[in-house]
Amino acid sequence: MNIEFLVAIVSGTVVAATPLIYAALGELIAERAGVLNLGVEGMMLVGALAAFSVGVASGSLLLGYLAAVCTSMLLALLFAVLTLSLQTNQVATGLALTLFGLGLSAFAGRKFTGLPIQGLRPVWIPGLSHLPVAGPLLFRFDAAVYGSILLYFAVDHVLKRTRAGLQLRAVGESPAIAHALGQPVLLTRYAAVLFGGATSGIAGAYLSTALTPMWVEGMSAGRGWIALALVVFATWKPLRVLLGAYLFGGVTILQLHAQGLGVGVPSEILSMLPYAATIVVLVIICRDPKTILLNQPASLGKSFHPDV
């Protein structure tokens, strides 16, 4: 196995994992606050389109990413208003968000199909990027990849060591008690949902500007759902989200390269791997009811009625 192949595998894994990390960490925050947002897939698609279209129109990828964050957060806001203030059913609303995001992005993106875009370029770190082996392996990723690692550290720190994180966890366990203690339950949940929206937007933007720099209707191909599964697989802990995302990235890359490696399995069957793997990891985590009981935020998915 030569070094180029190893680099291809590692960088492929990291690149495939990065959008999952963004989306899953954002959803983790939302779920730790007790809100189940099934609209990740829809928000990712809208973010992908926003980044691509603004990126192409303005020539600036930064503007594109900002646009992605804004549009996804808008959708997340819609979801938040419906589920938190108007108390609609979280599952139904999340599904509505996904379907709407699918339709909206397909509708608005028709002009952009097939257009080219200059994707994200690797960031060259003086000194590190030039190392003989470690350089190409670990230090020639684009900014968003490094951003995803920073995001992990930030999320982990906030959750464990800040008052905001404490408040989030409290609201996630029992909004009723938090409310009785005078905590801003609604505000906390809004912030968590919007944060999830923002990161889903970045995840989508990464899809259309880095992973496969182009726009195609429905290009997320279920990655939003996989991100949701990742949160469960990680038992709502940020580090495990990171590890799980890399695991999935690895599975995806292996499947892509399997044909090149002379594995005689048809490509469609190989493409099933990520989805089948998702099912398998879910089963592994969920088999023991105690795992879920001890880790799942107690109020996940339930609407909160303040004055009852």
């Binding site: 099934l38 699918l102 509708f107 279920g222 469609e268 989805y275």
Partner: protein, 345 residues
């Protein structure tokens, strides 16, 4: 009272579509006419309405039964695909040999295929506490890949110029049309019968009662000794079987063969149909007709006004949003929240 919200939602969507058409630079009233009225201006158009409403209603009926039992089958699209595969497989290989039995066998194969695909999330939920939402969804992608695999490989039409599609099915196995000059077929009245059966099941049979209790108050269902396991299996089997039937009817109906594209997202649109139809058989049939009209409207404005057909997806999503919002003003709310990932004591 219960129909107020869907009506409000439909009205809101109408107003929004007016605005969207205006925004797109088309004369709005004309566009509304092209979207909503023109498709129904001919016999053929009405046939298309019934034709598309059938799979929507079939899937919606099955899903609604599940939703009211707190079983969230999001993978109807995959079960539909498996139904198409199994029904289509029988049609491909058995069409000539089975004679008059061919049609019923194809339909049964479709039901069985869809039900078997839904058995996977049922098994994983009852045995391993795994969320049926995520599992059934993953299986949608797997099902579509399976279909593609078959169509690129062993089932590919040898005379088909390498397109990923199967041979056309023998004419005798296709569903008989209701009237000449349009495409609506036997599937529509079959769907109506099944709608009636599902209503009887839900409201008059004890099994339906048990499922509703399981959906509204799982602790009460446990208290009464209603088996959650049985409810989950029943809900998923019925939902899967219905979707499988829809898939089989599509391939031995308007499509006439197996191809990669057998459904413009009926399985997902059926979720909206189930909600807009208030999880009630009659409402679902009506909602399916409305949704069908949305599909036809999209095609109509694509041809007539050079607008993208994707406007359909946009309207569908909007409709569901409006419904959820409208529910509040009418005071109806889905009572139970799904147990997302596992059983909680």
């Amino acid at each position: 009272m219960r129909i107020a919200a869907p009506l409000i939602a439909a009205a809101a969507m109408l107003v929004t579509s007016f605005l969207i058409f205006a925004f797109l630079g088309k004369e709005p009233l004309n566009a509304l006419e092209v979207f909503f009225i023109e498709p129904l201006s001919s016999l053929y158009g009405w046939g298309e309405l019934l034709l598309k409403a059938t799979p929507l209603a079939l899937c919606g009926l099955g899903l609604a039964l599940g939703f009211s039992a707190n079983v969230w089958n999001i993978g109807a699209e995959g079960q539909l695909t498996l139904g198409a595969i199994c029904g289509g497989g029988v049609a491909l290989y058995g069409g000539a040999h089975l004679g008059t039995l061919a049609l019923p066998v194809v339909l049964i194969a479709g039901i069985a295929g869809g039900a078997a695909w839904a058995a996977i999330p049922a098994f994983l939920r009852t045995r391993f506490n795994t969320s049926e939402i995520l599992v059934s969804l993953m299986l949608v992608y797997i099902a579509q890949l399976l279909l593609a695999y078959l169509l690129h490989g062993i089932w590919r039409d040898p005379d088909g110029f390498n397109f990923p599609q199967s041979r056309a099915f023998d004419e005798r196995i296709l569903l008989p049309l209701l009237l000449d000059g349009q495409r609506a077929n036997l599937a529509f009245p079959v769907m109506l019968v099944l709608a009636a059966i599902s209503w009887v099941f839900s409201t008059r049979l004890f099994a339906g009662y048990r499922m509703r209790v399981g959906g509204q108050a799982p602790a009460a269902a446990a208290y009464a000794g209603f088996s959650e396991r049985r409810n989950v299996w029943l809900a998923l089997m019925i939902g899967g079987g219905a979707a499988g039937l829809a898939g089989a009817c599509e391939v031995i109906g308007p499509i006439g063969r197996l191809q990669v594209d057998i459904s413009p997202g009926y399985g997902f649109a059926a979720i909206i149909v189930a909600f807009v139809g208030r999880l009630h058989a009659m409402g679902i049939v009506l909602a399916a007709l409305l949704m069908s009209l949305l599909y036809l409207g999209g095609e109509s404005v694509q041809l007539g006004l050079q607008l993208p057909a994707a406007v359909t997806g946009l309207f569908q999503g909007l409709l569901l949003f409006y419904l959820l919002a409208a529910d509040l003003f009418v005071g109806f709310r889905l009572r139970r929240v799904p147990r997302v990932v596992a059983l909680r004591a």
